[in-house]
Amino acid sequence: MAPHERIFVDSEFAEDENHGALSCEECHGGNPDDPNWKTAHEGVVKDPSYPDPSETCGACHDDIAENYQHNLHVTLGPYEKVINKRTTPVKAAHAKVDAAMEIHCSSCHSSCGQCHVSRPNAVGGGLLEGHLIMKRAPMQLVCTACHGSRIEKEYFGKNEGIPPDVHKQKYFKCNKCHTAEEMHGDGKEYANRYEVENRPRCTDCHKDIYGMDAENAKTHWVHKDQVSCQVCHSMPYKNCYSCHVGKDKQGLPYYKTKGSEINFKVGLNPLQSEDRPERFVTLRHVPVDPGTFDYYMKDALGNFDALPTWKLTTPHNIRRKTPQNSTCDACHGNEALFLREVDVKPEYKKANKDVVVPPDLIPGKRGG
């Protein structure tokens, strides 16, 4: 986007029957009577929906705004929770890590405006369609602009040699599965996105997979509650390692990751529950490292091993036929598919002890 395009307002906005009657300063502040753009912008709020939309969007959309303060896209609550859990349990460490997160992590949030009016600030901002209010956030300018490294590349088939998600080939946009209700939150404070009650489930659409007439009903019944859908139906996906954050000589924040790899690993379900009973799930390596915050404080993540670095994942590159479901023995007895102790880097072994699959739990060959 050219710099001027990012702030260009389509005059058609004035004709928007719901929002066009609002004058600019009602939401953004500033002085519309001042012809000098520099002084006119004094006090201007770029995104009046963050951090509190109650006086702007919420004045009309109060039913949505009331859940805003618990919305995962706004709070990034799960990030904070997992980093807190790994942090050395002393005040000084928490203070340092919180300050570092404020610099390096907290800017990666969204808001009403940063989905429906502009691109999120975290990816450079810029008005969508000249400030016309977009009821549905455009997929590539908003959703995958942030969820780019993993979801976008998987869904669009941008990882070399791996086809796109079958739902992409059927022209599904994100909101086909991720509804507005899910995106706006329900007011509950969830520990992670996999707990969200109205999250999409494969069976929302694929209701008949266990039906008498279903083509693979027997296979689905045999594996029900044993493996997640992705274990059979997702393709290899991206795993990242060793993120370190700091500031350069000019004081600008940076992050560095030690590369990434395409892999596919089945491990023990770290979030097993009544709602998610499967024993085996796909796991993705997240880039956290014991030294992530070393720049700010050595050993700040003294409780690093409190959580695995291989986390439950639901990759977005679903295919009906995958290498691992081509035959029974493509999975059964195929040790390389499973997260074994040898697959875990020495510094991460303790953290991953509960998700590594012991040899005796790897299903044996079926001869088929």
Binding site: A2, P3, H4, I7, F8, V9, D10, S11, A14, S23, C24, E25, H28, G30, P32, D33, D34, P35, W37, A40, H131, S149, K238, C240, C243, G246, K247, D248, Q250, L252, P253, Y254, Y255, K256, T257, K258, G259, S260, P287
Partner: protein, 72 residues
Amino acid sequence: MKIVKYVMCIALALSLSVFLVYQGRTVSSAEEGENHCFSCHTNPRKLIQITREIAKAQEGKATKSSETSGEG
């Protein structure tokens, strides 16, 4: 009597036309008191000029660290 009525009609017509002219001026002066946010942000030419001005003022100032590497 006829003359009085005639004068009154003329006076009424005159005051009505003065009122209408004044109203018209009020409306046009409200239009003239333009909203500079809207007139500027809907004008690509002005925006190009201003964003160039901003870019020039920020020349040489890095906004992102060149040390960032890898996928986020």
